[in-house]
Structure formats: structure tokens, C-alpha cells
């Protein structure tokens, strides 16, 4: 969900405390938590935090399945939360009963396998829309406008992610992004293939190219707002009118966690509104923590692409695990990638 495709795994050791040898190991998406949150946690509890990063749910799952131990906490997307539960990789935390859980908006307790938040804590959410160069793309509003740029001979990029990209086709055709009907999936792939002319690349590294004007518009995450706030005259971010996908990650404790107690403390720490707000301030994404909304900077809270109106929210679709039917997307994805 985050930008680092070729995830350089970095280990960040924060605020070493000579007195305490206790550590908490986080395994998170690249650039997906405000370092200040971790510092605040160390300050309050005396527990040192280490952070490793991954670039996709599958990469994280593959590592954990292959027996990577030493991590206490992971940040899977909701559908991966379900998968990890089914594989028996998650530990019970009873976070849903912890004091402060009433801060969490119940609509974000999404994982089907964890309806009472016995395992994981909803972490953050956002949508996947379009970041565009104002001079090149003009005032675009929809996926149709986005692909029209390509038809005009301007350059656009799509994410190198099979479900996100086929998802655009499904949304434009009015279908569910979790469709398991082979005809619908094929029609979605055909929509992308019919509009492939202007697609110059499938990539995650598109924002710098949108800023420089090499690309007119790019399929990208709500986190683009961070760059929009730095270059407000050059680029913009929209949620397309037809709808878009949304994502949500949860904070989960691993069954193999070496320090479950510290992990539990971290989950409870993250229930605090001021901590959730501190994270939003740097990440520019959505938090499920209701009282935190009042604490975040006005510019973020009032940004309709970060906190959309209910009408727009209703048009956002979240991915579910497709099980075997993922293979329908797999072969269509190869077809898209080889269409020129």
C-alpha cells in the first residue's frame, strides 16, 4: 500500500536506553509510521523500538511464513489480517476490551475473522486515486478524464499492483473490486487494455515524475497529499468520481512475538487520541480514532481527499481476500502487462 516497491529494509534503532534492555520489534510498510510516535512510546515505557520495513503484504507474509522470528508487531491490510488469522499467525490481545477502545469508530473493525477486535487494532486507512500535474492535466475529475489524457498523447502511469489496477476497470464498469466472475474480471482488464496507449509505466515511483512534468497524471495513494502540500501550485490529488479503492491496515501481534507484553503496551498506547493524531500529522492519512479527529491540523481534517464526505466514502471499495480466485486476476494481469 505504501510507496516503497523495492523495499529497502532498514533497521532503525530509536533512542537507545542504557538502563533497559527490553525491546519491541515492529515490522511495517516503508515510511508508514511517524518516528515521533515511536520516540514517544520509548519515552513513556522505556522500551526500545526497532523498525524493519516491507513493500507488500505478500512480502511480509512470505517472510513470516518462511519462519522469520523476532518480530512482535506487523501492520497487515484487512484482507491479510484475515489470512494471517486463518494461518494461525496472530496472537490474541483482547484489545477490543481495553480501556480506550471506545475511541475507535466501530465501522473500522473490518476484518471478518476478528469482529470483536480480539486480535488486532485498526491502524490507519486511506484511498487510492490520482495525483496529477495541474499544468499538464488540467482540472481532471474522473478515471475517464485520466485515461483521456493518455488518448491525447500525454503520459500517465498506473500502479504495478494487479488488484489496484484491475480494480480501476472493475470500478469504471460498475462492478465490485472483489468480483470473482471471470467475465467481469476479463472486462475490467479489457478496459485497461483499451486505454493502454498513454500508460507509460506500471510503477510506484511516479510522484517525482508528476512534479517534474514527465508524467501528466499517476494512479497513486492518498499519501500524495504530503507532496501536494509541498507543491500546491504544481500538483493535485483527487478521488475520481466513479469511485476508488480504499485500504486499511491493522496493528497485529504475532503468535511468535518474543515480547508480547511490550506489544500489548504498544497497542494500548496507540489507542490514545493524541498519539493517533501525531501519526496523522506526518502521514496525512485517515485514523479510525474518533477523538483524534479533533486534534489533527485543520488543513488535514478539512481535506476532502483525506477525510471524504459520506457520499464519497460510499463509493470507496476495500479489497477482500479472494482465495483461489486471485488466479483469475493473475492471468489477466499478465495480459495487461504485455498489451502494448
Amino acid at each position: 500500500m505504501k510507496k516503497l516497491h523495492l523495499a529497502a529494509t532498514t533497521a532503525l534503532i530509536l533512542a537507545p536506553l542504557a538502563a533497559s534492555a527490553e525491546t519491541l520489534s515492529l515490522y511495517n510498510w516503508g515510511d508508514y509510521i511517524n518516528p515521533a510516535v515511536l520516540e514517544a512510546f520509548t519515552e513513556e515505557t522505556g522500551i526500545e523500538v526497532t523498525l524493519d520495513s516491507y513493500g507488500s503484504n505478500e512480502e511480509m507474509l512470505a517472510k513470516i511464513q518462511a519462519g522469520a522470528t523476532g518480530y512482535d508487531i506487523v501492520f497487515p491490510s484487512v484482507h491479510m489480517h484475515d489470512i494471517m488469522f486463518q494461518l494461525g499467525l496472530l496472537a490474541k490481545t483482547h484489545i477490543g476490551k481495553a480501556p480506550g477502545f471506545e475511541n475507535i469508530d466501530p465501522q473500522f473493525v473490518r476484518a471478518k475473522t476478528d469482529p470483536d477486535a480480539e486480535y488486532c487494532l485498526p491502524y490507519a486507512w486511506g484511498n487510492v486515486g490520482i495525483v496529477y500535474n495541474k499544468a499538464l492535466a488540467g482540472d481532471i475529475k474522473s478515471w475517464a478524464d485520466f485515461f483521456a489524457l493518455g488518448a491525447e498523447g500525454k503520459k500517465i502511469t498506473l500502479l504495478d499492483d494487479l488488484r489496484e489496477t484491475i480494480g480501476i476497470g472493475l470500478i469504471v464498469n460498475g462492478n465490485s473490486v472483489n468480483s470473482t466472475d471471470p467475465d467481469e474480471v476479463e472486462a475490467a482488464a479489457d478496459y485497461i487494455i483499451d486505454h493502454i496507449a498513454g500508460v507509460t509505466a506500471f510503477t510506484y515511483d511516479s510522484v517525482p515524475q508528476v512534479i517534474s512534468g514527465d508524467v501528466a497524471a499517476a494512479h497513486w495513494y492518498v499519501g500524495a497529499n504530503l507532496y501536494v502540500s509541498e507543491n500546491p501550485d504544481t500538483i493535485g490529488y483527487i478521488i475520481p468520481e466513479e469511485g476508488a479503492t480504499m485500504y486499511q491496515e491493522d496493528i497485529c501481534v504475532l503468535e511468535s512475538a518474543p515480547n508480547k507484553e511490550a506489544a500489548q503496551k504498544f497497542l494500548e498506547f496507540y489507542l490514545k487520541p493524541e498519539i493517533a493524531a501525531m501519526n496523522v500529522e506526518q502521514q496525512m492519512n485517515g485514523t479510525p480514532n474518533k477523538p483524534a479527529q479533533a486534534l489533527i491540523p485543520e488543513a488535514i481534517a478539512a481535506n476532502e481527499t483525506i477525510y471524504p464526505s459520506q457520499d464519497v466514502m460510499d463509493k470507496l471499495q476495500i479489497f477482500e481476500d479472494l482465495g483461489r480466485d486471485l488466479q483469475l486476476y493473475n492471468s489477466e494481469w499478465t495480459r495487461i502487462k504485455t498489451a502494448q
Partner: protein, 294 residues
């Protein structure tokens, strides 16, 4: 201890370690891959131990189920990878052959420094170097700005996200692989033979074709093989410089193991690459053997 027994033990001592090494690090993984390629994908990655020949059917033409369908696109991607890898070999040969000649004629101190320079890129992460190429090749990049500044072109030329960028990137990455074996055989070239050839009236071209080229052939073949093999399976260069639109077989295999969670199909594709590589290696040994005999 009998002589035969001692010889046997000596041989065992000599060959034991490399044999174990090969078994563990070459045949072991290969065998796992072969077995996996005949199984059914596990729901969340991994494999289910149910026999299936459909992974090959998808590539070669007999699969037709809800999830496994034959598609000629896989063979097409494989052929494209072969072509891109072959062009990469050709391009690196064209760069390295004259360069190796030139460096081998330098005075020793300078020569060692030049060889050090050839291997220098290995000291920097591949990803960083490839992203540097993105900055060079993109429409507002250094190359296009240079060309437009010189008035050679009015509009930016499409370099990035093309076959050209992929071949350029792979050539850049694999130059040291090609250079070192080539340099090894060019350095050993006997100058007396070249002089004798021209003394006997051969033109420069004749000397090159009849004397220099045959003498350096082992380096050319060796360099080509160890460039071709990793180029064929490369997936980082097409992903970064090809914009994942110039899809190579390595990208397809990566997709099966990660986002698509289909290890058996990935294994079947990998076996296809392995077969191509083995055929190439056998051909090389045959060729080398024939040359030695003649």
C-alpha cells in the same frame, strides 16, 4: 592400504566438498523447484501436495480450467526475454572487447587502476544505480536536456520505459561480467603472432579474423554465457527502467511467487528458464570441446 583404495580416498577428498556443495546449493533447490512445478498452489502461497501437470499446460498448450488456461503470452514473454538477453550480450561485447584491448595495452599501474574502475560500480547498490539511470533517461532528464541544449532534437525523445532502456540498463549492469573473462583472454594474446601475421602480408582485418578472434574466442564465449544467464532471468532492470511494461520472464516468475501466490506456476516458468540455460551450457561445452580437439 591398497593402492586402489588410497586412490579412491584421495579422489573422495578432492571431489567430496565440491560434490556436496553442488548437491546442496544446486541440485537441491533445482529438485524442489521441479517437484513444486508439478503441484497445486496453496491458498496462501506454498503448495498443496496434489499432482498437477497444468502448470506446464498453461505454458505449452493443454490447460483449460477456470484457473489454469493456456495462453501463448507466456512463450511470447520467454522469447522476448531471450531476445533482450541476446541483445544485452551483443551490446556488452561491443563495449568490452575494444575496452579490454585498450586496457591490456596500458602500462601496469594504470592498467590495474582501469580494471578497478570497471568493478567499481559493484560498490554501490544496484537499485540506486538504476534510479540514477531513471534521472538520466526520463523526458526532463539529463540526456534529453543535453540533446535539446545542443539543438539535436526539439522534443524530448522517449528513452525511459522502452526496450532500449532495458537493454542499456542490463548492459550497464553486466559489463563487468563480460569484461573480466574477455580481458583474461585478450591479455594473454601473443603479440609475436600478430606481428608474424602482418609480416606475412595479412591485412589488419585478416589478422583480426584469423589470429586475434580465434585466440580470444574462449573469453568471448565465457563472457557471453555468464552475461546471458543472469540477463535472461533479470527482473529488476525491466521493472525500474522498463516501467514493468517491458515484461521479462523474471518479472513473471516474481509475480507468481509474490503477488499472485502461485508458486507451482512460478516453478514451472523457472524450469523453463533453467532448461534454456542448461541447453546453452551444454552447447558451450560441446563447442569448447570441439575447438580443443581441432
Amino acid at each position: 592400504m591398497s593402492l586402489a583404495r588410497r586412490k579412491f580416498l584421495q579422489l573422495l577428498g578432492l571431489l567430496g566438498a565440491p560434490t556436496v556443495f553442488l548437491l546442496v546449493f544446486f541440485f537441491g533447490p533445482l529438485l524442489i523447484m521441479l517437484v513444486y512445478s508439478f503441484l497445486t498452489p496453496g491458498l496462501y502461497g506454498g503448495v498443496d501436495w496434489i499432482f498437477s501437470h497444468l502448470n506446464y499446460g498453461r505454458i505449452l498448450g493443454w490447460a483449460d480450467t477456470r484457473y489454469e488456461k493456456f495462453d501463448p503470452v507466456y512463450i511470447a514473454i520467454f522469447l522476448r526475454s531471450l531476445r533482450l538477453a541476446a541483445l544485452t550480450v551483443l551490446a556488452s561485447l561491443l563495449v568490452c572487447y575494444p575496452a579490454a584491448f585498450w586496457i591490456s595495452r596500458m602500462r601496469p599501474g594504470l592498467r590495474d587502476f582501469a580494471i578497478f574502475l570497471v568493478t567499481l560500480p559493484f560498490f554501490v547498490s544496484l537499485i540506486v544505480r538504476l534510479f540514477a539511470w531513471v534521472l538520466i533517461l526520463r523526458p526532463t532528464g539529463f540526456l534529453n536536456q543535453g540533446l535539446m541544449g545542443l539543438g539535436l532534437t526539439d522534443a524530448p525523445i522517449e528513452f525511459l520505459y522502452t526496450d532500449f532502456a532495458v537493454i542499456l540498463g542490463m548492459t550497464y549492469v553486466f559489463i563487468p561480467f563480460m569484461f573480466l573473462p574477455l580481458y583474461g583472454s585478450i591479455e594473454k594474446l601473443d603479440m609475436a603472432q600478430i606481428e608474424a601475421s602482418s609480416d606475412l602480408g595479412a591485412t589488419r582485418l585478416q589478422t583480426f579474423r584469423k589470429v586475434i578472434l580465434p585466440a580470444t574466442m574462449p573469453g568471448i564465449v565465457g563472457g557471453s554465457v555468464i552475461t546471458f544467464i543472469p540477463a535472461l532471468g533479470n527482473f529488476i532492470v525491466p521493472s525500474v527502467l522498463g516501467g514493468a511494461k517491458v515484461l521479462m520472464i523474471g518479472n513473471l516468475i516474481e509475480q507468481q511467487f509474490l503477488s499472485a501466490r502461485n508458486w507451482p506456476f512460478g516453478s514451472a516458468l523457472a524450469m523453463l528458464v533453467m532448461t534454456a540455460v542448461l541447453v546453452l551450457l551444454i552447447a558451450q561445452f560441446r563447442l569448447a570441446g570441439r575447438e580443443e580437439r581441432s
